[in-house]
Symmetry: C2
Subunit: 333 residues, 2 copies
Amino acid sequence: MPSETPTLTDVARLAGVSENTVSRVVRNKGSIAEETRRRVTSAIDQLGYVPNRAAGSLASSSSLIIGVLLPSLSNIVFPEVLRGIHAALVSTPYQPMIGVTDYDLRQEQKILASMLAWQPAAIITAGFEHTDESRRMLQSNRIRVAELMDIDNRPIDLAVGFSHRKAGRAAAEHLVRRGYRRIAYVGHDWTADRRAFFRYEGLCDGLQQAGLAVAAELRFNGPSSTLAGRDTLGRLQQQAGDVDAVVFSNDDMAVGGFMHCLGDGIDVPAQLALFGFNGLEIGQALPKPLSTIRSNRFLIGKTAAETLLQASERAVEPHIIDTGFDIIEGATA
Amino acid sequence: MPSETPTLTDVARLAGVSENTVSRVVRNKGSIAEETRRRVTSAIDQLGYVPNRAAGSLASSSSLIIGVLLPSLSNIVFPEVLRGIHAALVSTPYQPMIGVTDYDLRQEQKILASMLAWQPAAIITAGFEHTDESRRMLQSNRIRVAELMDIDNRPIDLAVGFSHRKAGRAAAEHLVRRGYRRIAYVGHDWTADRRAFFRYEGLCDGLQQAGLAVAAELRFNGPSSTLAGRDTLGRLQQQAGDVDAVVFSNDDMAVGGFMHCLGDGIDVPAQLALFGFNGLEIGQALPKPLSTIRSNRFLIGKTAAETLLQASERAVEPHIIDTGFDIIEGATA
DNA sequence: CTGTTAGCGCCTTCAT
DNA sequence: ATGAAGGCGCTAACAG
């Protein structure tokens, strides 16, 4: 039985050309006579030939793999970035290889090293914080590197995202414009999630600009979640009653806050205004749609992957793409 | 400058042994003299040697890649499965390569073919439906194959999941036990999401057993979402008012249903009981925790990956692992 | 326990 | 526009 997986050689033999010619047709490189191309293509179809990627990578010392480093999969934001990346790759021969760092830079370094063993065409990573060793690996390698989510830093090669500081400021301006004055903050642990901190800083800036300051604040000592948002707002209200608006570190937390208000019969936004961040679907499905900021995660992933594939070489200067954000007015603030 | 990435040969030269010996040390295969191993290990550290995976795959015609085929990343359930898979792989040299099929079997086939070009050690796929061609590829290849989520089918090699039919029946039994009699169903499009259909079937079975039938039903013509759940329950109530409980196709839909009730001032569960499926965090963060069924997605992914790695060869007979489910009593039904 | 010998399947370079 | 030769870095036999 001819059940063996066919190789370039088999195709070449059947088409009556050299292996090299087949390789050229497959990779769409160099010029090929129309007639030859037809013969080769038909031989490929006939045999059901699929190129062996390992052999290709070894010979060219570069693979069709795109390494994707994500801090987490629990936070829906990152699967959405991945979705964008996937959308950009699906019609190409590139395949995403993913790694989850759990917000741990040493873990990132470990995964990065083992990814580089595949000689990927590019690395996409969510965030700008790396160990020195990781940075060295990313810099020395001439592969393309995209750093996502944030543009408040100088990237190694390409940054795609938006300014979280500006987003925080925008939240402050929105609330001030609406007449809120005693504005509190409810957050989660930002030692790992640096961007949450940037937004907080922006919020403070924005309030200061209006002659205000954060009226009260409480941070849950762990990752963001609806439950954390609910409980933390509850605790904040016990400690500081005279607040008229709360900015949350993200929508998960804000939705939790809304739940707290529902449970305690607090009228939103009359008694207390709530403001989130991300623009998740769940926020818009609340009885009153959440006032928040839309961060376009899918677009960030897609743009990054597309941009990387446009050129196999780095530009001399790092490139920054701002995907922006917009305020979702909602009805809670 | 010696900035070239070191190869096996470099390590062998430095350690004063043959390449093969280094290879054995790296792969931890065969027996090596303690002294030799030390010399090799130190040479590896000194050079910062990282094996070239492409070369290894080519030579052994099998890679350290695990192909993961997911129908979607928008539904939080699948990122969680992926999280489980990742947890099982993180301390091994295996790397997950992911593909998203968008519930499209032709797309699955395409991605599968390009994954197999990497000669992965195993394929993990969520679901049992495949095109004939996909099935052929999975069967003929002697690589390991895990089919996840569901165990209501005969797998190719390994199935990990639970019976969605039984879960549906359990929902029915729970509601009947609680005294509900006019039980409706609110769902989403199940032509793609086969498991939702299985649960529906189980629900009907369970009701029938109690001499009942689905009192009313409405399916949103698209994927599940909170918004869809909210609107579809709204429409159902216009059409059929005399219902005392609603089973939703999943928690997303159920949470949406809860939002509808909040908005319309419907007392849950006194006027209308709500029952979901999945046990998502958001359901438990509602003012009244959602009554639902916990499906252990993380465990499914982790168990699958672990089990696959235990043996590189398929057993003669397909193997099925039931990860089970449990009822979360909650307060909405 | 270790070394030798052949490739794995493809791509690159250089010819023609 | 096509072909020939060589090698990418590693592993699989087989020797010893």
